[in-house]
Symmetry: D2
Subunit: 394 residues, 4 copies
Amino acid sequence: MTHTQKAAEVPALFTLTTGPVNCYPEVLSALGKPVLYDYDPAFMALYERVMKKLGKALRAPDVPIVLQGEPVLGLEAAAHSLVAPDDKVLNLASGVYGAGYGEWLKPRAESFHEIRTSYNDAIDPKAVEAFLAQNPDTAVVAICHHDTPSGTINPIQEIGQIVQKHGALYVVDSVSAWAGVEVDIEACCIDVLVTGPNKCLGCPPALSILTVSEKAWAKMEANPTAPRASILSILDWKDAWKASEGFPFTPSVSEIYGLEAGVDRYLEEGPEAVWARHAKTAEAMRAGVKAMELDLWAAREEIASPTCTTIKLPEGVDETELRNKMKEQYGVVISSGRAETFNKLVRVGHMGPTAYPLYSILALTALGGALSEIMNKPMDIGAAVAAAEAVIRG
Amino acid sequence: MTHTQKAAEVPALFTLTTGPVNCYPEVLSALGKPVLYDYDPAFMALYERVMKKLGKALRAPDVPIVLQGEPVLGLEAAAHSLVAPDDKVLNLASGVYGAGYGEWLKPRAESFHEIRTSYNDAIDPKAVEAFLAQNPDTAVVAICHHDTPSGTINPIQEIGQIVQKHGALYVVDSVSAWAGVEVDIEACCIDVLVTGPNKCLGCPPALSILTVSEKAWAKMEANPTAPRASILSILDWKDAWKASEGFPFTPSVSEIYGLEAGVDRYLEEGPEAVWARHAKTAEAMRAGVKAMELDLWAAREEIASPTCTTIKLPEGVDETELRNKMKEQYGVVISSGRAETFNKLVRVGHMGPTAYPLYSILALTALGGALSEIMNKPMDIGAAVAAAEAVIRG
Amino acid sequence: MTHTQKAAEVPALFTLTTGPVNCYPEVLSALGKPVLYDYDPAFMALYERVMKKLGKALRAPDVPIVLQGEPVLGLEAAAHSLVAPDDKVLNLASGVYGAGYGEWLKPRAESFHEIRTSYNDAIDPKAVEAFLAQNPDTAVVAICHHDTPSGTINPIQEIGQIVQKHGALYVVDSVSAWAGVEVDIEACCIDVLVTGPNKCLGCPPALSILTVSEKAWAKMEANPTAPRASILSILDWKDAWKASEGFPFTPSVSEIYGLEAGVDRYLEEGPEAVWARHAKTAEAMRAGVKAMELDLWAAREEIASPTCTTIKLPEGVDETELRNKMKEQYGVVISSGRAETFNKLVRVGHMGPTAYPLYSILALTALGGALSEIMNKPMDIGAAVAAAEAVIRG
Amino acid sequence: MTHTQKAAEVPALFTLTTGPVNCYPEVLSALGKPVLYDYDPAFMALYERVMKKLGKALRAPDVPIVLQGEPVLGLEAAAHSLVAPDDKVLNLASGVYGAGYGEWLKPRAESFHEIRTSYNDAIDPKAVEAFLAQNPDTAVVAICHHDTPSGTINPIQEIGQIVQKHGALYVVDSVSAWAGVEVDIEACCIDVLVTGPNKCLGCPPALSILTVSEKAWAKMEANPTAPRASILSILDWKDAWKASEGFPFTPSVSEIYGLEAGVDRYLEEGPEAVWARHAKTAEAMRAGVKAMELDLWAAREEIASPTCTTIKLPEGVDETELRNKMKEQYGVVISSGRAETFNKLVRVGHMGPTAYPLYSILALTALGGALSEIMNKPMDIGAAVAAAEAVIRG
């Protein structure tokens, strides 16, 4: 029996991944509510109510859009909807997801440009400024806020202000950061924010959340290649939030119930309090990692995400063996890297229901224990936990 | 306060629509299970198990594909994946959904053809035979099994055998019939069946189910315009059911839990028993409708769907007023028509948890009562119920 | 295979019994919330909040008491707690439950007296007046508000005012009426009201609800035989509702969650609205029963309970055969009689989630159909449904 | 604002108490299933099935009895049912619960005797042997297996064999040990085992579970003071498990659903595996406690319960302050002492869903952190966690 087989038989006790994460209990309860007909006026009223509350949670000027598929749908839809055949597009890639987004932008644009950094670093706003100064006709700039496979955060506000100054549209993928850190849509000058409920909001994966500025609506409406009558259409859903309008197709009713519960919890707890516990959990985790003499993946601690801690794999350690051992022996499931970061790092998510500082203790213990066994060399788990606990106690 | 406003405030007691329908209790319970990480080996094993059980429920030769969006995604994806730029395509349209499917086929094909009937009728296999005899190079034939906005059933087996004889690929939309009536994939020679769990399987709307024949896989793989690395890709998901493979993107974990519960229930109850109660419910409903001297929409009773009864709106009756009154006064929600059938008929679904004969009594009482009031003319509810009950008692 | 065996294998579609009834969806959702430690201050605060809301629902002057067992516990506990060895006690018995209560009172009292009526009738207040005039030293008078096995209602307000005038304590069992009909504790001069959440409040069976007047507290405290440190103790729980106090033993945490959801729903819908739909459902049911030429059990329609309709079994019909046939053929489960009323009547509950008028249609159809078959003589189901529907339409 | 007020507002993240504990997810899901009528043949069949599975989980020779209230009901009922007015009774008291049981035995027996030890110790079988040798007419011997307020285990097998040899009935309270440690009913010669689903089985508190030997049934049946027609009656429920019999009163339907889910999980995981993880969790916890230089309450480690670790409060530490700080700062809720052990110790439960070794890490970190702050003296949390982790890794 291989490690993977054994890990498949052991129930996960603690899912400390970068998403899907387990949901808040309120969300799990809400998912089981009776399913209503989407054209039942009661559901239409509920949908409007949820969208408005979601707008409040987003602190968005307008009612947001929900697309009926997990955030890759929102991301792909945004690329299809915004990029017109005569557009010059700039993609900012500091990691696997940022770079991947280029694959959707490129075939739709007239010219496609990219600023890249190494995948443990963040985009330098100066490079954006320089590009836009030279390319004032750039129509769309895209960035990934938190490039999850690296666990690093880009300076979306600084960059956003530059983008706005140059008149381009600004698309931000904040799927795995929003609701765990502040995203000030107006200060960041975001035209299209794509996020989802399945990370820091503590809901299941099945929906995309988008905010769309007036400028972005105008661009989509003018774009002849923007999808219409398609799952990829954002335009179709523009007014669907209104109780008086129909839906382009059946919304995912149960997921909308879950979304409402997640948004309610977020607003009741208070966004600032939620962000603070995300930050503290990550801070405790990083303190423990360093105390155990492991290396953070992020080039600088200030760009390490509050919603995910990324740890370099020690020389010679296989990530699958490590993660399977953590699961089998401790019941802890964490995330692997992806693509270029695969087998170079592991990732511990701090998202929604797992963004409580004590979870860092669990992750550190399981990580330290499993590494000790694999490397046949004792990690200082005691030091790690003590360092994390010191952060928690503050 | 308008009728719609009042109806929005009244909770629906009985959702007797053509979908979404409420779920089986087992499904509602399953939706609230803890969300696992999709790359947790335990979830990967679960996903494989569910796909295999689903294959058993479909009586499909191969493991089916689940796409992560309600069946419109499966339908759009099938059109994109199968139709190559040099294809001649035949669409069979006996209703709003069948005709609508042409909108996805047409722009992708070299030549697009359509056989239409009036929207209360079914496609004549002889017309298909005639077309294919004259157009032996037809690559794809598409049909809607149960055109829900009309409540009518097409003869998919007879037509399928003709299509196969002529060597075309056969795409069947059985979203609102499968699991409520028999769909024999092999006898019907279906290459791509598109269905969903949110109708007769009693699950929420959020997933598409597809079966794909070897011939259909080959066609997609050879098709340069078949989506890849897209929400619309079927190819991306070909091997995703295997526990050893990754997912193209995050599956809708909670919905997969619900799907398993729905499939388990279907298999435990026994497909033949499930189909029988769908048929009996519809039969009782039709008996009652006729006894109340209302007209069925279907041109002939033998093409009336076992999963939906469609009733012509009496002269002068507004469908919104009727449905709102049924909701306010009786707590019964039924479906309206769509597009060309809107305001010409109303529809009572018999799907999954509502495909029990006694629900016909509720629908008849509410329909009769509301019509009596709107038309200011007493409908014979007693006769309707007595006729339906006679069918139930057998 | 016997009827009972077959009925055991058929899932109940509609539980139209006199309790347990199925719960409101909100209650079912609440039952699955994470279980907290009873001494977790968060649970203690929750418990106080629930008790206060329950008091509001009861319109009780003081915070009510919840005992941790279904209402038989509350009833037995009240008898043990109130009746002292030197008490003269009067029991008012108009049915199986009222008479049964005497079995708990009798062994604890010095002298036990009873006023009985036939089991399809109600207690005559004049008889109570006469007894108390002759027995001014009577300490406790007990009555069953709605004697469920008969489906009849006693005039608790008229009698309560007589009891109060004579200075006795007044114990009212309103388990199956409260929350379905008005119970005005002050106008009825009730000292101890015993009820439960598992009937008209739409919660599961597992808790007793009691209101206790100051006079009743004083009597219990003075009673040397009142249970203490026992599951039967009411005194132990006097202050347990306060977040600052402990519990005598562990409360049924999940059931308390369910109770909160039931109370919230009751208060949100509005007690008057809830009572009205109970009354209307029963009225429709009775109209249908009479139209089908069956006999109500209640001697006079004005004493027929709004929460339960009791129908005399036609000559020669076996109640088990009838109920099993209703279940097997229609999926409808109703209640049998109990003890003296067993096999003389059947009962259809109108309680909480089933107290919506349309349920009467289901019950009438299933009852009429099953009787037609058993008696081999057609019942006029059409007339029954038409009569009930006329009541619904108003 | 007091500590208690703040703790009331903070949600518990980890309930690591000695019960109620949170439930397994399967149990939480099961609680929300539709409530059936207790006399629905489908429920009667379900009840029989659950009781038989429970018997299998208990490895009991006969079908067990479930009483409809949390285990204090079972305990009180056993005392009332077994002890006849002419009985000589021996109570074995090594803690608060064992001693408390005497309060129910004493008033019912002719003569009541007790063997006591200090509350951090276990009963010496030799003392039992000596008593019974001198008192061969002893009718009933009662013992608490795991005296939860002390966290200590009594040698129930050794004592049971002595009791049997002397012909007395042997009543064992294993509420907080069964399903977490092996209880071999036959080897321990237990006549009445009282336990519950709300500790190591991971269900909510609301039911008692009892096994009753033939000898014990005979004693109850012969006992004129054994309760009948009472919530306290065991006799009433003797045959209630049979699908063909009625219930003495309404069982707690939802809790029975939860019980089935808990039993299913226990049997699927395998009792031996469940016991092993309870033992390992406690072992890790104790290793950590000692490494932090705190004292275990138990006089000897071999009598420390595998389901609960009890830690002496350091000089000058107030238990309420400690527990509130653990909750506020770390989200961890643990149990206090009770009565004589109150404010002398705190208790960490290892029961069912929390009997996984990694929970010891959480408890140690929170305990160490809170004590460091309260005592203003750093506890060596690192050493504690390292010691516990070493046990986990094995």
